[in-house]
Symmetry: C2
Subunit: 425 residues, 2 copies
């Protein structure tokens, strides 16, 4: 048989204060018209200041778009795309969390491919999932959360309002040219944003480590250009995932609890890139697949610390709430990996039986979330049993990720997983 | 202070038989005139066959150059460059060990920059060390040794005959577009080529893990474009280096002793890329710096299993012979890392004292080499005390790497290191 693993790993630069080089980077790229994207909240905060200072110092000509929608939608993507098309930019800079970086990737893509229909590049089956063959402009991503790892991935996620479901665009072509990881930017994050974006790192690491092994993925594409970005777990992504998980275990609580703990925040910032490189090549599975309807069907939930007017379920929260149920379900397949993850997260496994691996990891996660004051399950963010059919329906089109679950799942299984996630403690 | 780490990690594809995709890759790149480079020995062996089959099947128009010199020289580079310039190629494929891949990188570089002088891009102080700003053609590297990791690095090494010293070209720009790591190609390697190229992996891992930390490197370049490829040890390269070292510890002996042990050979093939990503970003130090004159001043040594007419000291052998002396010398600085490496390589460190870290790692390496029938030191490959001044003189221009040694070294220190490496057992 013929098994293949393809890795495309991004360029990253890491260091406190490193943002001040961005003006020179743009000069080195010969950029004459730069598009700077961010969101309204960040446009008032130090990370954007630092970028503006550097651009000004280097005399870079730029236009700023600060209309990025937190947890972006098709509408908000289109608005940014419109701006990008009009601006005829030759380089992009995204300063923000996943919402900003993803929006900027989409803006770059569609402005570089002006005759394309929006659905052309959206993941199948919702869109056409066309391969990107047009050349894009350079994009420098400056992450301000320690979460998505979007600065390292070829993924851009949005909420398809009409269908009430999150989906995305996935192509190596939209991966940023450079990620500038400057841990100073994490210092302005309020507590819940640190927590929720940190849970995203946790789930990226856990899901990519437990994903279907790359040798079991099918079908095998006949031309390498059609190989998906998400390859299944593999010996390279495993290294990144485990390393990120160890950092989460050591530093996430500290980073949440103490905004002054620069060591913890810096380590989480790097871990989010590590986990991004891991899952960007291996993929994620059920926590992410199920999170998209959890976010997409949001009712009136307004999370603490998010300086926005609309209701939303933050991405990291939407993935982590199902994690105890998910890993209890998947552990059947690679129990030893589940047990190893539990141990890294602090469980005492000396007398553990391998057949209890799923329960042990689930308990470890529950305790971890409880200690961090996380809402008590889907019920606490506004869902009830009556919503389960809609949540399941919203998960079905997420086949691109759910098929990477090590254990195949029926609609009944999904129902049971949502039900088990209604209450955690 | 302002410390920066910049990573540029290559694209790799890994799998048994994956070479059969190369024709499609070239089609996808739109290549119309491909330059295929290899050496005379390999041109008769299965790896080149596999590439030729794929090119033919995809109807790729190519010219083959099989004149690569094993342990290349300035003359042999120039010959390949000449071929590349004449061919006006739009893509390159290198099938071989480091000698072939490095030659192909140089051919691509100078054919893309036809008005440059050969010395322009050669590392200073020997050459001018100019930054590469011309665009290169895509280069796909298909490594056939489990050694250099050249498929992942921006380095091309050659022997400058006139000066009797090895030096190279180092630029992110010459990094291959894609590395195709097909472990089937390692099956034709004879025993000593497995051993020597494996020692290169071992030293890449050990040296990059113990290199000067990136925060201590100076000077800090004022423009990011001038940041060296070799950054010093750092939290990202550490992950790759340790992982590669663990694989070497587990599989190198098996890979050397049993040509049928596909698991061991495949793991070593991937480890060579891991270690390449590690050292390609962190750098190597004294074993490599001192190896260049050891190779460059070769007298009459003809290694077993190398199907070539000229004398040569294989690169991996030239680095590993000084490794016991080098790590005994450097351990003063990060003794805990040296002890950790010794433990990974099998030493029992339960009762070890931290101040003995260097001796323990040196002894562990000596035992490792003895078990693998490695020549007993520099004396066994033709050097005597009288050669030491010339060996030291040849090391001095290797400042690009020697300055990454965690412990600074005088000429006397270098003399002592060569002397201590004359006999190992
Ligand atoms: N592309 C990918 O690979 C990927 C992966 C996972 C998630 N995502 C997507 O990313 C989005 C979530 O991104 P996120 O978790 O990074 O958060 P976010 O970008 O949605 O930002 C959340 C809130 O935090 C604020 N914020 C961000 N950085 C701040 C800082 N340093 N100081 C103060 N406030 C700050 C923002 O202004 C915003 O209000 C979701 O749409 C999710 O689906 C993408
Ligand atoms: N660019 C880098 O990052 C880097 C790093 C380390 C070393 N190097 C350089 O690479 C060169 C050494 O490369 P190497 O150790 O890979 O060996 P090599 O390319 O010099 O090859 C050594 C011998 O092995 C034969 N061979 C290779 N693959 C074979 C196979 N599969 N089956 C049978 N025979 C095979 C070759 O024909 C040759 O005779 C040196 O010049 C060294 O300085 C480069
Ligand atoms: Fe995520
Ligand atoms: Fe080497």
């Amino acid at each position: 048989m013929f098994f293949i693993l393809q890795m495309a790993i991004s360029n990253i630069r890491y260091g406190e204060g490193v943002t001040k080089e961005i003006g020179m980077d743009l000069q080195n790229l010969g950029a004459k018209r730069v598009c700077l994207m961010t969101d309204r909240n960040l446009s008032q905060l130090p990370p954007v200041d630092a970028v503006l200072n550097s651009l000004t110092k280097s005399g870079i000509n730029f236009q700023m778009y600060d209309n990025v929608w937190v947890e972006p939608t098709d509408q908000s993507f289109l608005d940014a795309i419109e701006f990008a098309k009009k601006g005829e930019f030759d380089a992009y800079v995204a300063v923000g969390g996943g919402s900003v970086i993803d929006t900027c990737k989409a803006a770059n893509l569609y402005a570089s491919s002006p005759s394309s229909d929006f659905l052309d590049y959206v993941n199948a089956p919702i869109g056409k999932g066309k391969a990107v063959t047009v050349p894009l402009k350079p994009l420098i991503a400056v992450p301000t959360t320690a979460g998505t790892g979007s600065e390292t991935t070829g993924v851009a996620i949005f909420d398809f309002k009409e269908l009430k479901v999150k989906t995305g665009i996935a192509s190596r072509a939209i991966k940023p040219t450079l990620g500038i990881i400057d841990p100073l930017h994490t210092l302005s994050m309020p507590e819940r944003i640190v927590a929720n974006s940190g849970f995203d790192v946790l789930c990226h690491a856990l899901e990519s480590y437990t994903a279907l092994p790359y040798k079991m993925r099918s079908p095998c594409p006949s031309n390498p250009i059609n190989r998906p970005a998400y390859q299944g777990s593999n010996p390279i992504s495993d290294v990144w995932a485990l390393h990120a998980l160890r950092i989460v275990a050591k530093y996430l609580k500290r980073a949440i609890r103490n905004p002054e703990d620069r060591e913890a925040r810096a380590n989480m910032h790097l871990a989010s890139a590590f986990a991004g490189i891991g899952f960007g090549n291996a993929g994620v599975h059920l926590c992410h697949g199920m999170s998209y309807p959890i976010s997409g069907l949001v009712k009136t939930y307004k999370p603490k610390d998010y300086n926005v007017d609309h209701s939303l379920v933050p991405h990291g929260l939407s993935v982590v709430l199902t994690s105890p149920a998910v890993f209890a379900f998947t552990a059947q397949v690679h129990p030893e990996r589940h047990l190893e993850a539990a141990e890294i997260l602090g469980a005492d496994i000396r007398t553990a039986r391998i057949k209890d691996a799923g329960l042990i990891l689930a308990d470890t996660l529950r305790k971890f979330l409880f200690d961090l004051n996380v809402d008590d399950g889907l019920a606490a963010i506004g869902y009830s049993k009556a919503d389960i059919p809609a949540l399941v329906k919203g998960t079905l089109p997420q086949e691109r990720v759910t098929k990477l679950s090590p254990r195949p799942q029926t609609e009944e299984d999904l129902s049971a997983l949502f039900e088990a996630s209604m209450k955690l403690y």
